[in-house]
């Protein structure tokens, strides 16, 4: 009798646990929403559900999805990086200047990435050594990097990228898969491995979960923080290269507003803005979802400016849902 009731209680608690974990599993629910959106759009437009358009979505996602991959580490650690859109522009301008001077795509890529990393390290130094809150430090960098990008070229875009350079953004592998899509996939695989199989990833998690106890456990909080923001700067720079190559020009005003798209993708993907909770696959799905909705609105002929409103709504809703779930 008692045995039976214990078993019953256990099975009920297991069921409750399963429902809770299903609801908690934002990745799964977001994946479902993504697929649902695709199905709805497929009914609304015959053009939507074509192989070409689906790859188009991954292509459109790639730039800010890559930014979001770095941003995931930052938010996971309990911080925020608002400077990614500006660092994106500044790094690609630096890369573009080197390209214009030397004609070397390799040098352009290396200097661009190095600039992004340097900007990230500056962010990290202000945050970890001078205790400037991440929001403020990266807000400052957002202004500085944007200004530096515009000053460096007097506000004039750099033109004349070679076909080799542009292949990074416009090329296709096997005549079908866009190169940016492949880069994006590679970045996410890497990010997944780092987050789950490296000490750096674990310490990022620990800092986000409880900074003080991570410090007391001997985690070098300052060093990890520096690494996290450097990583975020680097992914922003990489995204900058891809976009320059796609457009065939380097724009000092490019990437503005991308920080919101990236943060949106991270948050929609289930990473908590309070740190210590989240995952990188969710970010990828979040980025695809944001692009799908934009793409869908485009196909349906919705006035382009409405997309900003929809983006904003999605971000706020995603966080609100997260809050409601956590309150229980």
């Amino acid at each position: 009798m008692e045995q039976a009731s214990v078993t019953k209680a256990r099975s009920i608690s297991q069921q409750v646990g399963m429902v809770a974990s299903l609801a908690k599993n934002q990745v799964l629910s977001m994946l479902l929403i993504l697929i649902l959106t695709w199905i709805v759009l497929a009914f609304l437009s015959p053009y939507f559900f074509t192989v070409r358009n689906l790859f188009e979505i991954t292509l459109q996602s790639s730039v800010f999805a890559i930014i979001a991959a770095g941003e995931t580490f930052v938010i996971f650690s309990g911080g925020i990086d608002l400077s990614v859109g500006s660092v994106f522009a500044f790094s690609s301008i630096v890369g573009g200047i080197f390209y214009a001077a030397t004609g070397s795509v390799f040098l352009a890529v290396v200097t661009c990435l190095a600039t992004g990393i340097a900007a990230g390290i500056v962010n990290g130094l202000f945050i970890s050594s001078l205790n400037v809150p991440p929001f403020v430090a990266t807000l400052g960098m957002m202004g500085i990097a944007r200004g530096a990008a515009l000053i460096a070229v007097n506000g004039i875009p750099i033109y004349g990228l070679s076909p080799t350079f542009m292949w990074i953004g416009q090329g296709q592998v096997a005549g079908l898969i866009p190169v940016p899509t492949i880069i994006m996939a590679a970045i996410f695989v890497l990010a997944y491995l780092v987050l789950n199989y490296s000490r750096f990833g674990r310490f990022t998690y620990a800092i986000g979960s409880n900074l003080e106890s991570a410090r007391l456990s001997g985690v070098s909080v300052a060093g990890i923080t520096l690494g996290i923001y450097a990583l975020s700067g680097m992914t922003a720079a990489l995204a900058g290269i891809i976009e320059s190559a796609r457009l065939g020009t380097v724009q000092p005003a490019g990437g503005s507003g991308y920080e919101l798209l990236a943060i949106g993708a991270v948050v929609i993907g289930g990473t908590s803005l309070f740190g210590g909770e989240g995952n990188i696959i969710g970010t990828l799905i979040g980025a695809l979802l944001v692009t799908t909705i934009r793409n869908g609105l485009n196909i349906l002929g919705v006035y382009a400016f409405w997309q900003y409103v929809v983006n904003g709504l999605i971000i706020v809703l995603a966080v609100a849902i997260d809050q409601v779930k956590n309150r229980r």
């Binding site: 789950n196 998690y205 620990a206 979960s209 106890s213 991570a214 007391l216 456990s217 001997g218 985690v219």
Partner: protein, 494 residues
């Protein structure tokens, strides 16, 4: 107050307390740490709700008390930790509760006039425009008192109000209390200092383990009568088999360590194979010593030696490298990553010591499995988020993470706080095994004197930021230690 009970998470803290206060009387409430004094007062001031019992003020039963209704009934509290707004001025702080009630525009002239009047009542001269955050502790305390008095208190609750005051300020406070009594205000006064109780109190009530032990007139409240009441049954000193200290090897030594505002001139030696107890009342400076040892805060003067060599510990990371482990008092806020799983918490310290930067899931699992079984951590799985574990199991996870990292010296700060008796016993045996069987060393910080007597080999007593006495648990009694704790707590010279 009659038959007041209160439980936190199923642990009864008050088990039927009776307490009464007459008009114009100062009634002293006394008891050990954790006896339930503060809980009782928080119930009276509406900060906590009671589980059962009745509260009657001036013949009227008060049903549910909230801070607001308690204030309306004239019950005002002065807390140990301040409830002032650090960014506002003295005058604004004194007027803030009226701002909240009247919802009008602020009339500065009146605000200042009221503030001046409130300060004049306790003869406390201070710049009304000074920012409260910049004031020294003693002035904040006086301001808190002025604030309470400005609310027309009928019943005034003071919890260790003199802890931060100089003797001159204490005198002013006592004069104020005497005036209040004359004007018919009842004062409930929580204190550990027997000498000051005599100066201001009328009656003394002793609380122990959530019950009222007795009430007596202050003239009868001598240490020899009050301390046994606080302790209850005199425990026999535990006759523990003390292993001979291993050749007297000094593992850790503190020499004349000082940290301004926390403790002064602390020297102690930790030998291999022993548990050294550090006890004292709340606020004696014990935690701060641990924090300096572990590089969380910096000492202004003094030396730390490990194995006879002077070391400089500037961060927890360095402390960790020297083989120190630290289990902080506040498990949830500082000890554990609550979102992370049991396994991830256990391996965290070991990972910081690992030479390479990769995770080896099998190595981690093995380490966690070993710790979970040897420490008997009750968890449904290794992936279980630590926040869902009980207090005892959380504490064991903290032990596990340091033991897995092979540290040599454990600094334990209140390691059994809020833990049930079963888990307590397990933790004691862990400590015993670590220090005595494995021949390592433990600095055991606790304000629970029973447990210090039961667990440690030697005891240091701290009071008011200084080491004031040493004792052997076999030769001393709880009564003696408690007396040392209380008598050592003198006013800081001001």
């Amino acid at each position: 107050m009659e038959g007041i009970t209160k439980s936190f998470l199923g642990v009864p803290v008050l088990k039927g307390v009776d307490f009464d206060l007459k008009r114009g009387e100062a009634h002293v409430l006394i008891g050990e740490n954790g006896a339930g004094k503060s809980t009782l007062m928080k119930i009276l001031s509406g900060a906590y709700s009671r589980d059962s019992g009745t509260i009657v003020v001036d013949g009227a039963k008060l049903a549910t008390l909230t801070p607001r209704t308690a204030e309306d009934a004239g019950i005002i509290s002065i807390y140990q930790n301040f409830h002032l707004f650090p960014h506002l001025s003295v005058a604004e702080n004194l007027a803030i509760s009226r701002f909240a009630r009247e919802r009008k525009l602020i009339r500065w002239k009146e605000t200042f006039a009221r503030a001046k009047e409130a300060l004049a009542r306790i003869d406390f001269g201070i710049d009304l425009r000074a920012k409260v955050g910049d004031l020294p502790v003693a002035q904040k305390q006086m301001l808190e008192i002025a604030l309470a008095l400005s609310k027309n208190a009928k019943i005034l609750i003071m919890d260790e109000p003199t802890a931060a005051l100089s003797s001159r300020e204490t005198e002013t406070l006592f004069k104020t209390i005497a005036d209040l009594k004359k004007s018919g205000v009842g004062v409930i006064y929580i204190s550990h200092r027997l000498e000051e109780i005599k100066q201001i109190g009328d009656r003394v009530t002793v609380l122990r383990d959530g019950v009222t032990v007795g009430t007596l007139p202050v003239s009868a409240a001598d240490p020899s009568t009050v301390i046994p009441m606080m302790i209850g049954r005199e425990l026999q000193p535990t006759a523990r088999d003390l292993a001979a200290r291993d050749g007297g090897r000094r593992v850790l030594e503190l020499r004349n360590l000082s940290c301004p505002g926390s403790f002064r001139d602390v020297s102690l030696t930790l030998f291999q194979g022993e548990v050294l107890g550090l006890t004292g009342l709340v606020g004696a400076g014990k935690t701060e010593v641990a924090q300096v040892l572990f590089g969380v805060r910096q000492a202004a003067e003094g030396e730390i030696l490990m194995d006879g060599k002077e070391v400089s510990i500037d961060s927890p990371r360095t402390a960790n490298r020297f083989g120190l482990g630290y289990l902080p008092e506040d498990r949830d806020a500082r000890g554990l990553c609550l979102n992370m799983g049991v396994q991830e918490n256990i391996t965290l310290v070991s990972l910081t010591q690992q030479a390479h930067g990769f995770l080896d899931p099998r190595w981690e699992r093995r380490m966690a499995e070993k710790a979970v079984s040897s420490l008997n951590i009750r968890t449904p799985s290794l992936a279980q988020q630590v926040k869902y574990l009980s207090g005892g199991n959380k504490q064991k996870v903290m032990f596990a993470k340091w033991l897995s990292a092979r540290c040599r010296v454990l600094i334990l700060d209140e390691p059994t706080f809020g833990i049930d008796a079963g888990a307590r016993a397990e933790i004691y045996s862990l400590i015993d095994d670590f220090a005595h069987a494995q021949k390592k060393a433990v600095l055991f910080i606790s304000s629970d004197i029973d447990e210090v007597l039961a667990v440690t080999d030697r005891i240091h007593v701290m009071a008011g930021g200084k080491l004031i006495a040493q004792a052997s648990p076999r030769e001393t009694t709880k009564q003696e230690i408690l007396r040392m704790c209380m008598q050592g707590t003198r006013n800081r010279e001001g």
